[in-house]
Amino acid sequence: MAVTETSGLLTENPSAPRDSALFRYVLYQADDNLVLAQRMSAWISRAHDLEEDIALANIALDLLGRARMLLEYAGKLEGKCRTEDELAMFRSEREYTNLLLVEQPNGDFAYTMVRQFFFDAYQLGLWKALADSKDTTLAAIAGKALKEARYHLRHSSGWLVRLGDGTRESHRRTRQAVEELWRFVPEMFESEETCDRLAEAEVAVSPSQLRPAWIRRVRDTFSSAGLQIPGDRFSRSGGRSGFHTEHLGYLLAEMQWMQRSYPGMQW
């Protein structure tokens, strides 16, 4: 994969090993946001009312904006002059490093909102921690993302409570979504080599450290929503090393279609 840069020039640079790990780490965050932005944007014009159409478009746009900042930074760290579009449009499924949670299809509105709530609660903790990163660029991006993450979490947790405590039908759908998506939760907090190495250098945060606050946030919202946290059981992971569910391929095929059909053109 692209991160194993071993040219003489780079190995002489003392910051190179850190840069290549950081490249990978920044790419993780970029991919999470980009893939979810692509999923969320498919809701536009399909929501249950106009307010929600606007809200979902706005959230998708924030996620995309954040993904673009991160991809641009990742490109700089990699040192191969790859642009945001080259990174987004010319990597295959096996090279994408997003969490499995964000690539799951939209399902119904309850499914989308549970997925979003799990992710928003995770992002809030992540950006809070990364705002203190020793890498100043990452810290600056985190500081910015944090403010928006609060708006996003307020929106998705508000919906979880309304749906969980709404009608029998909405409660049933929401509970089912929680049951189905819970298997993708442990991956967010899984120990991972790149994260752990950078966490030691106080550049990144170790995923497991984010878990207690996440569980607290989820428990609070679930208790207002009348929802139960499912018991521990089967879980899926592998996104960070490019082992995805079958859903991602179609998402990328659609997103990358123009660039792949008309290579090397300006748009």
């Binding site: 536009i44 106009l50 998708a60 009608t167 123009m258 053109m265 300006q266």
Partner: protein
């Protein structure tokens, strides 16, 4: 003098003085109904107009273009919401307007019954469709009804930003490879005539126009607006190096305007009456979103009602 007479006199005085009519003011029933119909149709157009553009969000060629397109569609939804609120000041609810749209009793701009078949179509919607809409909306900033006129000022600014971005898509394609230039020309070929149709029938055939002009809801006639649009757009097409698909198009030095060919009015009326390329799909999409979301609206209402009871 009765209240009604006083109201009527004041209404006429406001119009004569080029001042705005505001929600609490007395207004003739016909004025109110015309405004409701027009503002609702405008709002529906923004909302239905989201569909042909949303069709390209997932496939936008670059992330920057994707972001711009998403922001544009969000913008249209926001304008729709604003316009529904403006119509509500006249005593109709948004739910009622939605129902009339879903039942086919309210219209929306026919232009959105054409499909977006290539990336150039997104450029054409920005350049031509928004360009035509702005021509109309600039006029509406001088409309006699206050909330509508003031809303138009802000909406025009935001639309101008999108028009500039649409033109930029076209400019990029025109400077690009032969495949891209062909894409741009094909887009113009398909969107040119429908864009001219956006200004409606000829003045001589327009049923509502005269009364609307007297009420100062409409300030410029359909044919004059269409001419403005053609005069503005032809040089832009020349700059892009694209050919406008009209053999009769030429500069008329005597008039100081471009002469142009006749619109295919059969096509115009077919689309207005519901038989355009995408009429059924647009309404079906809108109704499906509304019906699929019924359980969400019910849940939100049930939750809100329970919260109110808990407080009371």
């Amino acid at each position: 003098m009765t209240d009604r007479h006083r109201g009527e006199a004041r209404f006429e005085a406001l119009l004569a003085a080029e001042e705005k009519v505001e929600p609490p003011d007395w207004m003739p029933d016909g004025y109110r109904k015309t405004l409701i119909r027009q503002i609702a149709q405008h709002a529906h157009s923004e909302v239905i107009g989201m569909q042909p553009e949303a069709n390209w969000i997932s496939r936008a060629p670059t992330l920057k273009r994707k972001a711009i397109l998403m922001a544009k569609v969000q913008d249209e939804a926001g304008h729709g919401l604003y316009l529904y609120s403006a119509a509500e000041t006249l005593g109709i609810t948004r739910d009622e307007m939605m129902r009339l749209l879903h039942e086919g009793k309210h219209k929306y701009s026919s232009i959105f019954n054409y499909p977006t078949l290539s990336w150039a179509d997104i450029g054409c919607i920005g350049w031509l469709v928004d360009g035509a809409a702005i021509t109309n909306q600039v006029m509406l900033t001088r409309c006699s009804y206050g909330p509508y006129a003031r809303g138009m000022v802000r909406i025009c600014k935001e639309e101008s930003f999108h028009q500039r971005q649409g033109f930029e898509i076209m400019a990029t394609l025109s400077r690009g490879t032969p495949a891209q230039r062909q894409m741009a020309q094909d887009g113009l070929d398909r969107w040119w005539w429908p864009s001219l149709m956006m200004f409606g029938p000829h003045d001589s055939a327009s049923t509502h126009s005269r009364q609307s002009m007297e009420w100062k809801i409409k300030r410029v006639s359909n044919d004059d607006l269409r001419q403005q649009f053609v005069d503005m757009t032809v040089p832009q097409a020349e700059y892009l190096g694209l050919a406008i698909p009209d053999p009769d198009l030429r500069w008329n030095a005597e008039r100081g305007h471009y002469d142009f060919g006749e619109i295919d009015w059969d096509e115009f009326w077919a689309v207005v009456k519901g038989n355009g390329p995408m009429n059924r799909e647009r309404i079906a999409h809108k109704r499906a979103a509304w019906e699929d979301g019924a359980w969400v609206r019910e849940a939100a209402a049930a939750y809100a009602a329970r919260r109110r009871d808990a407080v009371a």
